[in-house]
């Protein structure tokens, strides 16, 4: 691939650009420098740390699965729907993105708590209580992460348009066949990046989880909550928090790199 020489950017632009990069990169660097490398292996292999990591990975995976199974159909419906109801729904779907996650946690409590809108019935009829369980962690993560998947997939679907779908239908393909063999394969890049973003967001989720699921080690204490506890905990050194943070950074970087390698067209 040859690339034409671009016009170039004004030199002055480098200053704010460098500041922005610094703002994003330097904190992580500071974290790395602050780490006590001697005690790091011990810190991240404590039973509590491993529990938190295991819980974080499994709940995030479950939440991503839920988001994929429910979010992709929602994205398809939104992308193909017209009119004001679709516009309103689209705005509502993005709400968790702009809402502070703590507000999301409270909202989830009012919906699914023991005295909540739906939670009360669940408790009375089926004896199911959701708050402060591992299921609550997954629900809180899905709540904050799903918009990333829906927006990414919906955007790709809109860009792809419906022209290929029309051709496929003219060849005798029913709606399921068109969706499975044409519509979704065409937006694979959006599906992959949306899923990765969704997983990364679930992994980092703190606020809604703290309020809706609590901070019970082994049950609802995910990495972010474990880090928070270690940082504020009496008697525990902040070194543990740093070590756990590094572990989370590592996990996030691994996910993002894996997604880059996955990107179609790069490998081919």
């Amino acid at each position: 691939m040859t690339r034409a020489r671009a016009v170039g950017v004004p030199r002055l632009l480098w200053v704010p650009a460098a500041l922005a990069a610094g703002l994003l990169v330097l904190p992580v660097l500071a974290l790395v420098l602050r780490a006590d490398w001697g005690s790091l292996p011990a810190d991240i292999t404590t039973p509590a740390a491993l529990d938190a990591l295991r819980l974080s990975l499994s709940t995030s995976a479950a939440a991503t699965g839920v988001c994929f199974l429910l979010g992709v159909p929602l994205a398809v419906v939104l992308a193909r729907a017209d009119g004001w109801p679709a516009d309103v729904l689209r705005a509502l779907v993005t709400l968790p993105l702009v809402l502070p996650p703590t507000v999301g946690g409270i909202a989830l409590l009012y919906l699914l708590g023991r005295r909540g809108l739906v939670g009360q019935s669940l408790d009375e009829w089926f004896g199911i209580t959701i708050p402060f369980t591992t299921a609550a962690v997954v629900i809180a993560q899905a709540f904050v992460a799903m918009p990333f998947l829906v927006l990414s997939v919906e955007g790709s679907l809109r860009t792809a348009g419906t022209r290929f779908d029309v051709v496929a239908a003219s060849l005798g393909a029913g709606r399921w066949t068109v969706l499975r063999r044409i519509t979704l394969p065409l937006v694979r890049p959006g599906l992959v990046s949306g899923t990765v973003l969704c997983f990364a967001r679930a992994l980092g989720e703190f606020g809604a989880t703290a309020l809706f699921a609590g901070n019970s080690p082994g049950v609802t204490q995910t990495m972010p909550l474990a880090i928070y506890s270690a940082f504020n905990g009496a008697g525990v050194t902040q070194g543990t928090a740093v070590a756990l943070s590094l572990l989370l950074v590592l996990a996030a970087v691994a996910v993002l790199l894996a997604a880059r390698a996955w990107r179609p067209g790069r490998a081919a």
Binding site: R163, F164, V166, V167, A168, A169, S170, L171, G172, A173, G174, R175, T177, V178, R181, I182, P185, L186, R188
Partner: protein, 350 residues
């Protein structure tokens, strides 16, 4: 082996589409018309993407659309109509190989993968792409992609094939080759074919019958040769590059008859007797500059063999380059024009 029969009326605010036509097995019917004539709307109705206000679309004995006064009695969904599409953009599925593209129709209708692959290879061979089945669309040229799209459309064995300006984006030579492939395959499969175009060349090279659409209405139809050499409607005349003048038949001092058109245009013609309204057609190359009716140059453009001069009264004159240069033509220049009666076809108007 089935024919298409369509009666379509569709009203939309200012615009009314009102077309009735048929396409028989192995026949290519060209729907010729300018942009906005309603061609795309008509195709959308045939393909089942749009319901007409009223009308019927039938393929053989099977009714695909039947609408009376806005309420649909029958509206078969696009995937069940057996109506194939080939548009300007080939729209070859980019994530599938050429073979998988062609096999898509058979696969979607239940053919086993291995069989569909063999069918696809046969079709690729018959459009001249033998051996390229494994290619991805981005490794094919524009003409090859359009061939894949044609093979894909035909592999689904449609009862009717709709072609929507399928050659518009191809270079002249590739377009000519592909027209040949389309013609061959349509004849071979005896598929009733509707070709929508505003390119007169498509109609001449491919169509058995031409339906000229203007402002939503059929203004004339017939064999391409007849329609284009003796057009009835000004749009067809413009398309065919033929002059069409409407006027009144008047007696000339020498006893002959001529047609007096607007802006002083006076065209001699072999009309039986003067008195009625009539229209005449004559080719721009038959117009002679020197004597005759007074005219003014309106604009100049390159013609196929020299200069095409548009004169007052909307009469086109084709001149060889040397003659044009000798006349020192300029916009606004005064000319005198004449045409011999033997080049003029006359049609009396009621």
């Amino acid at each position: 082996m089935t024919s298409l029969h369509a009666e379509v009326v569709l009203r939309r605010r200012e615009f009314t589409l009102d077309v009735t036509f048929a396409a028989h097995p192995a026949e290519v019917v060209a729907i010729l018309g300018p942009n906005g004539a309603g061609k795309s709307t008509l195709l959308a109705v045939l393909a089942g993407h749009l319901l007409p206000t009223s009308g019927v679309v039938r393929v053989g004995e099977r009714t695909l659309t039947a609408v009376r006064d806005g309420s649909a009695d029958v509206a078969v969904r696009p995937e069940h109509r057996s109506v194939g599409l080939l548009g300007q953009d080939p729209l070859v599925f980019p994530h599938l190989s050429a073979r998988e593209n062609v096999a898509f129709g058979p696969r979607a209708t239940g053919t086993r993968a291995a069989d569909a692959g063999r069918v696809a290879d046969d079709w690729l061979a018959s459009v001249g792409l033998a051996g390229l089945g494994a290619r991805r669309p981005d490794a094919l040229s524009g003409g090859q992609r359009q061939r894949v799209a044609l093979a894909r459309a035909l592999a689904a064995e449609p009862a009717v094939l709709l072609l929507d300006e399928p050659f518009a984006q191809l270079d002249v030579r590739t377009a000519a080759e592909l027209r040949e492939v389309v013609r061959e395959q349509v004849r071979r499969t005896r598929t009733a074919t509707v070709l929508v175009t505003h390119d007169v060349l498509d109609a001449v090279a491919l169509a058995d019958r031409v339906v000229v659409l203007h402002d939503g209405h059929v203004v004339e139809q017939g064999r391409p040769l007849d329609v284009l050499t003796d057009p009835v409607h000004p749009f067809t005349a413009a398309l065919a590059g033929v002059n069409l003048v409407v006027g009144r038949l008047v007696a000339q001092p020498d006893g002959s008859t001529a047609l007096a058109g607007p802006d002083g245009v006076l065209v001699p013609c072999d009309a039986p007797e003067p008195g009625g309204r009539a229209q005449v057609t004559f080719p721009p190359g038959a117009v002679v500059v020197g004597a005759g009716w007074p005219a003014r140059v309106v604009d100049l453009e390159p013609g196929t063999t020299g200069v095409r001069v548009r004169t007052s009264g909307d009469v086109l004159v084709d001149l060889p380059p040397a003659r044009a240069a000798a006349l020192d033509l300029r916009v606004g220049a005064e000319l005198r024009l004449s045409v011999a009666a033997e080049h003029v076809r006359v049609r009396s108007l009621a």
